[in-house]
């Protein structure tokens, strides 16, 4: 168990003009920990994710990240080049729509290999071997390595996006509704895959989802958001089984039992 958090958010607030995105969000995330951010559409969870992942500067508040050298740095005081390097190597970002995270006109192998090349890997044979082994891990048939993802199903594209993100063994991964828009059977396969990889690679994850079952399966802790604020937080199973906030009780009681 590591004693230092990898990500520390304090008082994160984002206004879009007069409209509130999120207000006064704070938490600490440790290596190996999975934090779920749940809430309905418009609750501010995607705004928060974008602030946390250095894609949207908060109006006030700070987000600090522990760099590989151990130094805690405020994301929004980093040089643009440093921030880009983080995004390309240290971090992953899994979008809900795989087309937002993949390059749709290059091959599956190149999609995976690209991030390795960003890390300085130049040996074509190594890159191809690594790409092959990652396709295998995410259960994409290896004979599809030279095909581009336009011909892939939604589930395959999402698995390819995950391989592209995890190939560099990032320390921190952001996920925005990674199972949204997939068939239930495809979701189950993806969840199982994610759960295995998160455990194995020991990375820290912030996952935004409106699906409480996904949060229960993948996360250690969760934040429940409503109208831009965190209304409840804590251990995932505690929040789901003994919800305190009126809104969390409503969310939990609204789940259909299959």
């Amino acid at each position: 168990m590591s004693d230092v958090p990898i990500l520390v958010a304090e008082g994160v607030t984002k206004h879009y003009g007069a409209r509130l995105g999120c207000r006064d969000v704070g938490f600490e995330l440790w290596p190996g920990e999975v934090l779920a951010v749940v809430g309905e559409s418009g609750s501010g969870k995607t705004t928060l994710l974008n602030c946390l992942s250095a894609r949207l500067r908060p109006t006030t508040g700070s987000i600090r990240y522990r760099m590989r050298d151990g130094a805690m740095r405020d994301l929004y005081t980093l040089e643009e080049a440093e921030r880009r390097r983080l995004m390309r190597t240290d971090w992953g970002f899994v979008h809900q729509n795989p087309a937002d995270g993949l390059r749709m006109t290059v091959s599956a192998g190149a999609n995976v290999g690209e991030r390795l090349m960003a890390l300085g890997e130049r040996h074509y044979g190594h890159i191809r071997d690594t790409a092959l082994s990652w396709l295998e891990r995410v259960e994409v048939a290896t004979d599809r390595i030279d095909d581009d993802p336009r011909g892939f199903s939604g589930g395959m594209r999402q698995r390819l996006q995950i391989a592209r993100n995890l190939v560099t063994r990032p320390r921190l991964v952001f996920m925005d509704e990674p199972t949204g828009g997939l068939d239930v059977s495809v979701q189950a396969r993806l969840l199982d895959l994610l759960r295995g990889l998160v455990g194995e690679l020991g990375m820290a994850v912030v996952i935004v989802t409106h699906d409480l079952a996904v949060a229960r399966l993948l996360s250690d802790r969760m934040l429940v958001m409503k109208d831009g604020r965190v209304v409840e937080s804590g251990l995932t199973d505690r929040v789901l089984d003994d919800p305190h906030a009126p809104y969390t009780q409503l969310l939990v009681s609204s789940i259909l039992q299959a």
Binding site: M1, W30, E33, A188, R189, L191, D192, R195, G199, L217, D220, R221, G234, L235, D237, R238, D241, D242, H244, A245, P246, Q249, L250, S253
Partner: protein, 234 residues
């Protein structure tokens, strides 16, 4: 006197139902007891007395409204009532296990991997963890042909044996048992009794609910009557 493995003091629990006009259901008050190393304490009392709620509070699954829940697995005591989520997770990793009444199945994960997982999370080699999982499943008479299958379609008794194996494999200093033998046949109930007795001789502590009187008599050092902790009606 040795330090108790678990010391629960003055714990109270209520549920406020905001969707039901904020009605407040008081379920427990003044819960106080200890469990010593190597001791098996059984919670007794009728259905609805709050036995399962006590187990869930000790596991951190329900938040206590008041009181202290100090668990000591050998590295000093931790008060779960006030501990951070991270500290509770660490305690679940190393110190407290929980065998719930029903197995929560994960799609596509094989029975043997569900059982081996607590060991793998502790960094034990996958092959060794799998060997130990299979040995325990064999001891609980789960047919080998089921080991590689996800248990979603298994019978209640088969799922419960997987749950029991997952709880016992990691030799937690404190194991919470919620009716671990409810849907088991006599032979498998006897295996569970043996597992508890063996673990006790090695210093393992148990806090459990057993409706089966024969099992309770075979494993319990003490029975605590949970109705003592029923809140006085206002």
């Amino acid at each position: 006197m040795t330090t108790p493995r678990l010391a629960v003091r003055d714990v109270a629990k209520s549920f406020t139902m905001h969707l039901r006009d904020g009605i407040c259901l008081r379920v427990l008050d003044g819960v106080t007891f200890t469990v010593a190393p190597g001791e098996c304490v059984v919670l007794g009392g009728p259905s609805g007395a709050g036995k399962s709620s006590i187990l869930k509070i000790v596991y951190g699954n329900y938040a206590a409204d008041a009181g202290a829940i100090v668990v000591d697995g050998g590295q000093g005591g931790l008060d779960l009532a006030t501990a951070t989520p991270r500290a509770v997770l660490a305690a679940r990793h190393a110190t407290i296990g929980y065998v719930s009444q029903f197995l929560r199945v994960v799609p596509r994960v094989a029975a043997r991997d569900i059982v081996a997982e607590p060991l793998i999370l502790r960094g034990i080699d996958r092959d060794e963890a799998t060997d130990r999982a299979e040995a325990l499943l064999a001891r609980l008479n789960l047919p080998a042909r089921l080991w590689s299958l996800p248990p979603a379609t298994f019978s209640g008794g088969e799922q419960q044996r997987i749950n029991v194996a997952r709880g016992f494999i990691a030799r937690y200093p404190l194991l919470l048992l919620d009716e671990p033998t409810a849907s088991l046949d006599a032979a498998n109930r006897a295996v569970v009794v043996d597992l508890i007795r063996e673990a006790k001789t090695e210093g393992g502590s148990f806090l459990g609910i057993f409706h089966d009187e024969a099992v309770r008599d075979a494993v319990a050092d003490r029975v605590i009557d949970v109705t003592h902790f029923t809140p006085a009606t206002p």
